[in-house]
C-alpha cells in the first residue's frame, strides 16, 4: 500500500496539472477574445513564477512590467492604442510555462515579455515564435535560450557566459588559489558553473571541486564539510538566495574563511538576514546594476515605492526595461508584426536601459554585458568593482 500511495500522489498531481492546462487552453478558445487584432488595446503577455519556490521573483517581475505599462499609457499608449498587461503563472516549471504560454496566445496577446527561470522559459520561445509574437526575456539568461536561433527573441539580462567571464575575472583579481563551485542542478545555475569552469580553466584558475545541492533543503552540512575538506579559499555559489545564504553560513561555521561569491540569482537584500550577522564578511556577488546603485534613479525608486509600498527587488528593472524595449520596437515598427518588431529591436543602438546603453547582437543578447561585482556591506549589496580596469 505504501508504494501505491506515493505513486498515487504523483498521479494525482499530474492529473490536476493537466486538468489545469486543459482548462487553460479551452478558456481562451471558447472565450470572445480570439487572436490578435488591430483594434482595442495592445496586449503584452507575461510569464512569471507566481507560485512555487521562486514565486518571490515573479512579483518583482510583474511589478516592474506594470510600472512600465503604466508609464506608457500615461504618455498616450502605443500606436494610439492603450497597453494592457496579462500575467500568467509559470511556476518556474516547464509544463506550467507551456500551458501558460498557450493560454496567453489564446487570450490574444501581441507581445511577450517575461521569464525568470531558464528551464521554464525555453519551451515558451517556440510557442510565441510560431504564433507570430515577438518575445523579450526579462531575467532568464541561460545560454540554451539562444541556441534555437529565433530572430525575434531578445534577452535583456546578460548571458550566463558573460556573467561567468566576470566571475573568472574577479577570482583572478582576488588571487584565488583553490576554487569550489556549487549549483542546484537547475538549468541556469548549472550553466553558470559549467561556463565558469570552461572559461576559468584556460585562464589558469584551479577549480578543486564541484558540488550540487538541493534547493529545497536547509542543511548543507555535508557540502560545508566538503568545502572545508578541499582546502578551498574561494566559493562560487550559483543557486538562488536561500540555499546560497545557508551554505555561506554553514561553510563559515565549519571554518571556511575565504571569499564567497554568489551568482545574480542570489543577490538580494535578504541575503544578510538569511545568512546571519556573524557570517556577512567577504560575501560578493556578480550582478547587473540595480537602481539603488545608479545615480539619478532616485525618482524611479520613489515612484516604485509609492506604487507598491515596497523596495524593488532583483529583476524589477529588467522587467521594466523589457517592456520598454518591446514598446520601442513596436513604436519604430509601427505595428506589432513579429518580423517588423524584431527588425526594429535589432536596429536599436544604445537604447537607454538601467543596465546601460543597449545594443543587441544578431543572437538577441546585449552586446555589452554590464556585470559588476557587488559586496555585502551593512546588510546591503553595494558596488565593489565594475571590472572595467
Amino acid at each position: 500500500m505504501t508504494k501505491n500511495s506515493l505513486v498515487q500522489r504523483l498521479v494525482l498531481a499530474t492529473a490536476i496539472l493537466s486538468t489545469l492546462a486543459l482548462t487553460a487552453c479551452s478558456g481562451g478558445v471558447g472565450g470572445d477574445q480570439n487572436g490578435p487584432n488591430d483594434e482595442g488595446p495592445i496586449r503584452i503577455g507575461m510569464l512569471a513564477p507566481l507560485t512555487g519556490s521562486e514565486s518571490v521573483y515573479g512579483t518583482y517581475l510583474r511589478n516592474g512590467a506594470e510600472m512600465a505599462v503604466e508609464e506608457i499609457n500615461a504618455q498616450g499608449g502605443l500606436l494610439g492604442r492603450p497597453v494592457e498587461l496579462v500575467v500568467e503563472d509559470d511556476g518556474c516549471d516547464a509544463q506550467m510555462a507551456t500551458a501558460g504560454a498557450t493560454k496567453l496566445v489564446s487570450a490574444g496577446i501581441h507581445l511577450a515579455v517575461g521569464g525568470y527561470c531558464s528551464g521554464s522559459t525555453l519551451p515558451t520561445e517556440q510557442i510565441f515564435y510560431s504564433n507570430g509574437i515577438p518575445q523579450v526575456i526579462t531575467a532568464a539568461n541561460g545560454s540554451q535560450l539562444i541556441e534555437a536561433g529565433l530572430d525575434s527573441v531578445f534577452l535583456v539580462n546578460g548571458l550566463a557566459t558573460q556573467q561567468a567571464q566576470s566571475a573568472v575575472k574577479f577570482a583572478q583579481k582576488q588571487g584565488a588559489q583553490a576554487i569550489f563551485t556549487v549549483d542546484d542542478g537547475d538549468a541556469y545555475p548549472k550553466g553558470l558553473t559549467d561556463a565558469f569552469a570552461e572559461y576559468g580553466q584556460p585562464a589558469g584558475l584551479n577549480i578543486v571541486a564541484h558540488e550540487q545541492i538541493n534547493k529545497a533543503e536547509k542543511d548543507f552540512g555535508s557540502v560545508a564539510t566538503a568545502i572545508v575538506g578541499s582546502g578551498a579559499d574561494f566559493v562560487f555559489c550559483t543557486a538562488y538566495v536561500q540555499p546560497c545564504a545557508l551554505l555561506n553560513q554553514q561553510a563559515k561555521q565549519y571554518g571556511f574563511s575565504g571569499d564567497f561569491l554568489i551568482g545574480d540569482g542570489a543577490v538580494d537584500a535578504q541575503f544578510a538576514d538569511l545568512t546571519g550577522a556573524a557570517y556577512v564578511e567577504r560575501v560578493y556577488g556578480t550582478f547587473t546594476q540595480t537602481p539603488d546603485m545608479l545615480v539619478g534613479a532616485e525618482q524611479w525608486l520613489a515612484s516604485y515605492q509609492a506604487k507598491f509600498g515596497a523596495e524593488p527587488g532583483p529583476y524589477t528593472t529588467q522587467a521594466y526595461d523589457g517592456v520598454r524595449v518591446m514598446a520601442e520596437g513596436v513604436r519604430l515598427a509601427g505595428s506589432t508584426d513579429r518580423q517588423a518588431v524584431a527588425d526594429a529591436i535589432h536596429g536599436l543602438r544604445g537604447f537607454d536601459l538601467f543596465s546601460g546603453p543597449a545594443t543587441f547582437t544578431d543572437q538577441g543578447v546585449l552586446a555589452d554585458s554590464s556585470f559588476v561585482i557587488v559586496v555585502l556591506k551593512d546588510g546591503k549589496f553595494v558596488l565593489f568593482d565594475d571590472l572595467k580596469s
Partner: protein, 297 residues
C-alpha cells in the same frame, strides 16, 4: 568520518521527529498523512509569530525563551493536528482509502498556500538563532546547534516511548492499532485516542519546525514538502506504523544521506536516499523493524 556521522545524526534527528507523526498516524488509522510535512512548516511559522510576540512583551534569556516558544508551538500545532483530523479526516474515516489520501494531499496544498497568502512567498528570517559557536571533537567541527538538535530530539523521543509504553492512553493507542473494533468493545474511546495521536504527532513535527527555524535561521512556506517526503521514506525504512522504526529510520536515512554525499557527491544525495526507499520497498517492505515487532505503534 566523525564529521560525516554528526552531520547525518543532526539531519536524521529532524527526519525522525517528523517520521514519528507519520508512522503513528499510519499505525492507528492506516492513513498516510501527506499534510504532515506541512505541520512541520506550520510549526516553524507559529514559532516565528510566538517568538515575535514574546520578545516584544518580556525580555527572556534566549535559551529559556526558545524552550517556552517550543512548548507553546507544540501545543498549537498539536491543536492544529487535532483540528485537521476532526474536520478533514474523521468524517471520511470509513470511506475508501483513496478519499483520505486525496484529502491529505489537498490539505497539504491548503496549508502551504494558506501560509504563503499570510506571510508571503519570501523566506522569513527567524528572529532567534542558536549560534553559540562550535566545538572540535577528534578533528570534526560540531556546531552547538547540531548538538542541541540531537539532544532535543532524543529527549522528545524518550518521553514519547515512555508515554506509549507506560500510560493508559499509550496502551489504548496500541490496542487500537491492533484492532480498533475490539478496542472499542473493551470500552476505549477510539475517537479521543485518535485525536491524541494526531496531537502528539503534530506537536513533534511542530517542535521540529521551531528547531529548524532556530538552527538554520530561515523559514519558507515550502519547507515542509521535501522533509515530508523524506520522513515518509524514513518511516518506510524503519517499518511504517512502528514507533521505534520511525526513530531508527530517521537516523538511518540521515546517516545514509550523509555517507552518500561523502562518497558520491552532493548531486547524488536524493538519488541515493530514494534508491534506498525503492530497495526497501522491493526487498523488505515491512522495513527494518516491521517484521520482528508484530505489535504496531
Amino acid at each position: 568520518m566523525i564529521q560525516v556521522i554528526v552531520n547525518g545524526l543532526s539531519v536524521g534527528a529532524f527526519y525522525a521527529l517528523v517520521a514519528l507523526g507519520y508512522s503513528m498516524v499510519y499505525g492507528i488509522i492506516k492513513l498516510l498523512n501527506f499534510a504532515h510535512g506541512d505541520i512541520y512548516m506550520l510549526g516553524a511559522y507559529v514559532g516565528f509569530v510566538v517568538l515575535g510576540a514574546l520578545t516584544s512583551w518580556l525580555s527572556l534569556p534566549t535559551a529559556l525563551g526558545l524552550v517556552l516558544v517550543t512548548l507553546v508551538t507544540m501545543a498549537l500545532t498539536g491543536g492544529a493536528g487535532v483540528l485537521m483530523e476532526r474536520v478533514a479526516y474523521r468524517p471520511i474515516r470509513h470511506a475508501p482509502r483513496l478519499s483520505l489520501l486525496i484529502t491529505a494531499v489537498g490539505l497539504s496544498f491548503a496549508l502551504e498556500y494558506g501560509v504563503r497568502q499570510i506571510f508571503g512567498p519570501k523566506p522569513s528570517h527567524f528572529p532567534v538563532q542558536i549560534d553559540a559557536g562550535s566545538v572540535n571533537l577528534f578533528g570534526a567541527t560540531i556546531t552547538t546547534a547540531r548538538i542541541i538538535v540531537i539532544l532535543v530530539a532524543g529527549v522528545l523521543m524518550v518521553v514519547l516511548s515512555l508515554f506509549v509504553a507506560k500510560t493508559r492512553q499509550g496502551r489504548a493507542m496500541r490496542a487500537i492499532a491492533l484492532d480498533a473494533k475490539a478496542a472499542r468493545l473493551m470500552g476505549i474511546d477510539v475517537d479521543r485516542t485518535i485525536s491524541l495521536v494526531f496531537f502528539i504527532g503534530s506537536a513533534l513535527a511542530g517542535a521540529a519546525g521551531v528547531l529548524a527555524g532556530a538552527v538554520y535561521g530561515t523559514i519558507d512556506f515550502l519547507m515542509g514538502f521535501i522533509i515530508g517526503i523524506k520522513a515518509f521514506t524514513a518511516a518506510v525504512i524503519g517499518g511504517i506504523g512502528n514507533l521505534y522504526g520511525a526513530m531508527l529510520g530517521g537516523v538511518a536515512l540521515g546517516l545514509l544521506e550523509s555517507f552518500g554525499v561523502a562518497w558520491l557527491g552532493g548531486q547524488w544525495r536524493d538519488v541515493f536516499s530514494f534508491l534506498c526507499l525503492i530497495l526497501f520497498l522491493t526487498f523488505r517492505p515491512t522495513g527494518i523493524l516491521g517484521g520482528r515487532v508484530v505489535e504496531r505503534m
